[in-house]
């Protein structure tokens, strides 16, 4: 069944888009990520213009992360204090990112910058996650405890000043890496048009030693707030949010996210991280492939006014 999208200006198959929402929603619920780095390329693939895709995906992510966050809230699996502090830093990061975004667009190499940052970020983060998860799985097989919160495993980050105690996560860390992480997520999100959940979850785990119990719920709160405000900002400035597309995506997304969250909670942490690492790495490789392989058509057209 075809439905015409009023802002994207093209008809799409409603079941195809619903299916995409379900699939990405499942993954986002399972890993506690937004899934923007998957959904945006998928939409572009079916013919939606990149600008409309990025803008509309933000509302889809807001919906699935809110649905997921509610589930974690009921289980008391959200560290509100940590989420708020990350958010405050994230806003500063977003503002800086938007500023750089405008600068890069002026020199007409934004596509390349986005492509390169996707490749670098996804392959490096993916590879690190795979490596870490495999080590954790190996340790389990050798009979050692699988936890990464080992006593005495303090890194240099724990020696930094301005220490804060986050009760829910049972961590006692310096405020500097917390602000740093929040800033990085906001910055990267603004530049690449993604929520940054796939970056945030490993950062919280590895740098702050946030336990698996609270990391996903906390990450979802952050994703929810950034993506809901991104929706409003995109709509107010660029007028590119397609509400019809967003609604189809979010209906699929929230249903998928529910099943994903359940599957995720039944899986062991290190297995989950290994899967996410493989996924992130694979998407990174796909972007690298697109940059390296000779394109079918060396030419492309872009509407100057709509850019």
């Amino acid at each position: 069944m075809q439905i015409y999208l009023p802002i994207a200006d093209l008809p799409v198959n409603i079941f195809l888009v619903l299916g995409m929402g379900l699939a990405v929603g499942f993954i986002s619920g399972m890993f506690g990520i937004g899934g923007g780095f998957l959904m945006t390329p998928l939409l572009i693939f079916i013919g939606v213009s990149p600008a409309v895709a990025v803008a509309s995906v933000s509302s889809h992510i807001a919906a699935s992360s809110f649905s997921g966050a509610l589930n974690y809230w009921r289980r008391d699996a959200i560290d509100v204090a940590l989420a708020l502090m990350l958010l405050a830093a994230g806003i500063i990061g977003t503002a800086t990112g938007v500023w750089l975004f405008t600068m890069l667009r002026a020199v007409d190499q934004l596509d390349l910058m986005i492509g390169l940052s996707y490749v670098t970020l996804l392959t490096v983060v993916g590879a690190l996650m795979i490596y870490e998860a495999l080590r954790a799985i190996m340790r389990t097989y050798q009979g050692q405890p699988a936890t990464i919160r080992r006593p005495g495993s303090h890194t240099w980050m724990h020696g930094l000043p301005f220490k804060l105690r986050f009760k829910r996560s049972k961590i006692y860390v310096s405020a500097i890496p917390v602000w740093g992480i929040g800033f990085t997520i906001g910055f990267v999100g603004a530049i690449m048009g993604i929520g940054g959940g796939f970056l945030l979850v490993p950062m919280l785990i590895y740098f702050l030693r946030v336990p698996t119990a609270t990391v996903i719920g906390t990450s979802m709160v952050l994703t929810l707030v950034t993506m809901a405000s991104a929706t409003v900002m995109h709509a107010a400035t660029n007028h590119l949010v397609d509400a019809v597309l967003a609604l189809i995506l979010m209906v699929g997304g929230v249903i998928g996210a529910q099943f994903g969250a359940r599957t995720g909670q039944q899986m062991r942490g290190e297995r989950l991280r290994l899967l996410l690492g493989i996924l992130v790495f694979a998407v990174g490789l796909r972007f690298a492939y697109a940059l390296v392989v000779t394109p079918d058509d060396l030419y492309s057209i872009r509407n100057v006014a709509a850019e």
Partner: protein, 269 residues
């Protein structure tokens, strides 16, 4: 030709009003022995939620002047449909350090977003190259101005950017050339089928119909077409454009509501 001018001259001598009429006649219809009458099946294409493109039919008749008979098989017709103008940038990738990067680009300034050229036989067979170029008949002869530095200029048909641009626009069905797009129902009545793709740009379309005989234009007429969003599609598009902030807040609220409903429906504990 002479027969038309002579009575006009006579009228012109009779008074100022007549002179004006004569001038008008010279400018608009230089000595047409035939007249063209066309009618479009639909002048307003409405895009609603089940829009998947539309086919339109243009009907037309060739009417000889009083006292003359139709010249069988001597006429050629070219229908040119141009959509709303937009500025499009064509970019070319080259390999830099192993990766493909957009290095060159050319801006096509205020070119039609949609361009369809329909004729009863290939345009090259209808008139000479000079006439076609002057009248911009055919995809190769259509003026597609490029920005060259601070200036604008037309490009040769074999310019690589122009070729790539036309090729890409044809692939998307935005540009088309149909050498058999016009068919004769009788020697004096013809029809042309226009097809608008599903992602057709909205706006005003101009349809220009030219009648050729012996390689020269003997009559021309034009009509218009409007593509607009209608109903719900129009409402959403207007809201997004005119009340961006409100629209964004509504979309964000819709997202929260959807998330909350899903969470409540699937709640197990």
């Amino acid at each position: 030709m002479m027969r038309r001018i002579a009575p006009s001259l006579l009228i012109g001598l009779m008074g100022l009003a007549g002179l004006m009429g004569f001038l008008g006649l010279l400018i608009s219809q230089p000595a047409a022995a035939e007249q063209l009458v066309v009618s479009l099946s639909n002048h307003r294409v409405a895009i609603n939620s089940n829009f998947v493109g539309e086919n339109l039919v243009l009907f037309g008749a060739i009417e000889p002047d009083a006292g003359k008979t139709i010249r069988r098989g001597a006429y050629d017709l070219v229908v040119t449909v141009t959509g709303p103008r937009e500025t499009l940038r064509t970019r070319r990738k080259t390999r830099v350090l192993g990766i493909w990067v957009n290095t060159d680009s050319q801006e096509f300034v205020r070119v039609p977003s949609y361009l369809a050229i329909l004729s009863n036989r290939p345009v090259n067979a209808i008139a000479g190259a000079e006439v076609l170029r002057r009248l911009q008949i055919g995809l190769d002869n259509f003026l597609l101005p490029q920005r060259i530095g601070a200036d604008f200029g037309d490009t040769a048909p074999d310019d690589p950017f122009r070729q790539a641009f036309v090729h890409l626009q044809r692939e998307h069905n935005f540009y088309s050339e149909a050498p058999t797009g016009v068919t004769y129902l009788t020697p004096a009545v013809f029809r042309a089928a226009l097809s608008l793709p599903a992602d057709v740009p909205t706006g005003n379309y101009a349809i220009d119909v030219k009648l050729f005989a012996d390689g020269a234009v003997i009559a021309s007429t034009n009509t218009a077409l409007e593509v607009t969003k209608a109903g719900f599609e129009q409402y959403v598009a207007n809201a997004a454009r005119d009340d961006g902030l409100l629209y964004g807040l509504a979309t964000a609220l819709m997202a929260l509501a959807t998330g909350w409903i899903a969470s409540a429906v699937f709640r197990r504990d």
